[in-house]
Symmetry: C3
Subunit: 407 residues, 3 copies
Amino acid sequence: ISSQDGQYSLAIGTQIQFDVGGYFQNSSSNNAQPTGAQDLNNGENLRRGRLFFVAKMGDFTLNVTPDWGGSPDGSPTLYEANLNYTGFKPITATIGYFKPWLTLQDSMSSNDFLFLERPSIVEIARNVAAGDARASVGAKASGDDYFAALYLTGGTYGAQNAGLLNDEQTGGTVRVATRPLRGEDWNTHIGISASKAFHLNENDANAGSNQTIQLRDRPELRIDQNRLIDTGVIPANGADTYGIELAANWKNFLVQAEYIRIDVDQDQPTGPSPTLHFQGGYIEGSWVMTGESRKYNPSAAAYMRPSPADPFSFTNGGGWGAWELSMRYSIADLNSHTNDGEAQSVTGGVFGGLQQVYSVGISWYPTDFVRFELQFSYVDVDRKDTSGTQQVGQNFEDLALRTQIAF
Amino acid sequence: ISSQDGQYSLAIGTQIQFDVGGYFQNSSSNNAQPTGAQDLNNGENLRRGRLFFVAKMGDFTLNVTPDWGGSPDGSPTLYEANLNYTGFKPITATIGYFKPWLTLQDSMSSNDFLFLERPSIVEIARNVAAGDARASVGAKASGDDYFAALYLTGGTYGAQNAGLLNDEQTGGTVRVATRPLRGEDWNTHIGISASKAFHLNENDANAGSNQTIQLRDRPELRIDQNRLIDTGVIPANGADTYGIELAANWKNFLVQAEYIRIDVDQDQPTGPSPTLHFQGGYIEGSWVMTGESRKYNPSAAAYMRPSPADPFSFTNGGGWGAWELSMRYSIADLNSHTNDGEAQSVTGGVFGGLQQVYSVGISWYPTDFVRFELQFSYVDVDRKDTSGTQQVGQNFEDLALRTQIAF
Amino acid sequence: ISSQDGQYSLAIGTQIQFDVGGYFQNSSSNNAQPTGAQDLNNGENLRRGRLFFVAKMGDFTLNVTPDWGGSPDGSPTLYEANLNYTGFKPITATIGYFKPWLTLQDSMSSNDFLFLERPSIVEIARNVAAGDARASVGAKASGDDYFAALYLTGGTYGAQNAGLLNDEQTGGTVRVATRPLRGEDWNTHIGISASKAFHLNENDANAGSNQTIQLRDRPELRIDQNRLIDTGVIPANGADTYGIELAANWKNFLVQAEYIRIDVDQDQPTGPSPTLHFQGGYIEGSWVMTGESRKYNPSAAAYMRPSPADPFSFTNGGGWGAWELSMRYSIADLNSHTNDGEAQSVTGGVFGGLQQVYSVGISWYPTDFVRFELQFSYVDVDRKDTSGTQQVGQNFEDLALRTQIAF
């Protein structure tokens, strides 16, 4: 909702995502790591609970968005706080805490996702030098058929503390995308994005470069908060990510896929210290059964959720809203330079684990502002412990319902 | 305040309660438990500091209410975040973090209380499976002469964490109430409510049911934050609460009373493990000396604060607002299956303590939105230590002033 | 922005200050204390991230201001929550969490500062019994040529906790100021302020008065969070501060200066325990190169930032905004009753350190609501360790850019 007052205007919006769900573990979980993952925790979580405050004064726009949700909820935080200048069309220049544009999936609004969480490889890649509330300065430009964004990035909200030594992280991100072919009721999308952490956070005193990085993620559902694939803390001088994005939609059908690779310039104080390579990808599709389409948004170079043609209502003789079926296969491989049976310290590699997730979801959009999504997944984690001999992965099914309100 | 924008409307409200107070302890406090209670802490506290955001779109209503107050203040949190559907009159269906309807006192707005805090037994009972920011799904219905509410409940905001094992709490609540007899300037109220925790939070690994419950409360004033009655952590399989509520008002007089019982299905790993029974109640009355009445609100089945007939103002030749005198006797008994001089471990009982509070309050309502209340209490806690031989309770007087603003 | 709704009105404002900066340390930092200061941390910080909610109903005004910034950011908190009564002109009476009026610098809005941070001696003095979110009750009155404010103060937001013993801090503040001579385009300002902590927070059990105080500050830049001057925790019965303020402006020039003294009534359990005296001051000047003046605000008895005559805009054929050059010398001496080479325990004194900061800043105000300030400082800290023999201070340059948005 927005309100005008002479020189400037203020708009207030909100995004609520409340999740309920549970896990059905198989017998293989007794050795699972971390320990908390041996008995995954059913329950509820407020995934996002944001209030958007957007103030405009001429060519300047301010965004401030506190967030009461989280993973897990319970610790209110800040999603963004940034100043934008739009006086130089079609460029939007930004400074402050911001989510820099990186990958197709992360360019979608979290209200528009096909599933509850981003594919693990996207989540892992965006946390290297992009992600939410990242200190950023840069700009994006977009037109009907192109999108380009470039940012210099630093630490995230809350990363600064008195114990930290000499410098927060510095890095950068870039994303370029286009619609090479399109028609009235179809689009094709191709894009690339990359990010680099030039200098990582320094956490310890006086020992080598003092810089470390850790790659990890939860199994594409955040009721239980354990991360099943995890490289652990890696001494490193830097890291970079590369990704390619492909998508196409026709009427009420959408398919999109990405491949991402992450390189870590390892810097082990002792033993072998090869450069590590991780990778992953996903392919997902959506069929809006009631016929609405997921529109392409050129200013984000990404797809939006369908808008129900016939909003649901008991009282006003309304319709049944929109219904959507979605499917996804996702893979993330955090193993690098390893041999089964050989310890990490011998090869200088990392047994971070290989995770594959098969998901199917059904969404109901009773109105433009409300969405319910029921998601079922099969998760398979294949991970060795650091000695390379013990299986510490597991496989399981999970089921969750999201209630989403977005004004 | 509310603002309209085509399809939906947004209203913003606020509730501030700022308390200042102190304690006058008698000589009996030297052995008091917990240790912090031996020298109760005078000072100030922001009891509630809430901003309400209410968005409506057709039959859907969203509530998001962050809270900067607390017990003690200093840790911002969330009071509620829920989605409601009102398309099926007179039913309101709700999902999200919500305060499920339980007991008469907890159905009153905290702006309308006769005293600064709820009676201890109500506070203790509502925290079993209801209370603020409880994950809930359910519905209420009400008319001029009836009220009924039923919810399935889970954990509270912030209860989820990675260390928690297999399942957050699940439970349920129910409340039914009616006005059997009423006239133009009087009402009678009778109601019952109950709640049950089917499955409690699991906090430890691999030992028995891993489920525990703890019942406790502060002495109906929250300047000092020590709880003087406390069962400690009890291994248990579940717990339930039952309560009966009675009230009547005539013109500017109101009397209300409740009795509540709590059963805990104890599950001690060793020694006797009887089912525990706790109980308590209160009776309180209000006389609005300036003649206004506390109106009955059928949609909550509870009473509201008086609205001053003659708002206070120096500048506009106004009146003196409304003045109210209130009194309360409250008792909460957290002792069960105990014998004086015999240790808890012998009987399998709990020396949680017996607390009685006698309170008198005077409230000034200069306008509809501002209230000052001065409260004086005599608190008597009779509690044995776990060996059953040492008195660890105490008695004292306390005095506090609340400044309340509610728009 | 404000909105009216029959009986009352609500206004929402915002203040964002996002800082980026770094430190250039000289070779003298190897022995610097605290340890974290040996390698000062470059990076980013959200210094202030506030949303203001102001509700008015007749003569009552409510302020609620959450803050997502901090030093460092990452922990959302509350800047203020208070109720004001303005029915008795020209008096404003206030109760709640509030910033009591103390010193000239602290009476300026943090949007209007000449530099990124207050001079250290002002910051240290205001934290004795004033500062942000201080529990306060009192009043201020002001006219065209006078300002007077008097408050009884308590603890700060979040200071209350269950471990604290018998009483939060109590104290008081007073400020009186006037414009003795003034003309159409010039003003002179003189004022005095004082504060006293009658009774300090009690932090420990049963040992003497249990009261302590600690005086300290960061080097007038808060990217790195280490405090370079610090008295440590001093057992004490109370403390007071006195200050005198002088200022004058003529057209687009402003000069202001303050001197402040702090006395601590030390209460060491063993050894000598003299009363400690600390002091400091600053002088700063501003030249608005584009000709605008910093107006005097009689209701705060302090100067405001310039309002650009010719706001910046590419699109609307606008001007270049306002540009301002500012300079400051600041000194804070936290040494008292010490002799070089003699340990603190011998004299009963404190080697808190002597800090001098020379700063120059350039500010660009493209519009009334946006400000960028680039600040360069030379910091010189001369501080002995507690034995009095080892230099633990250092000197360095630092450079920082603030992006500020204030609606």
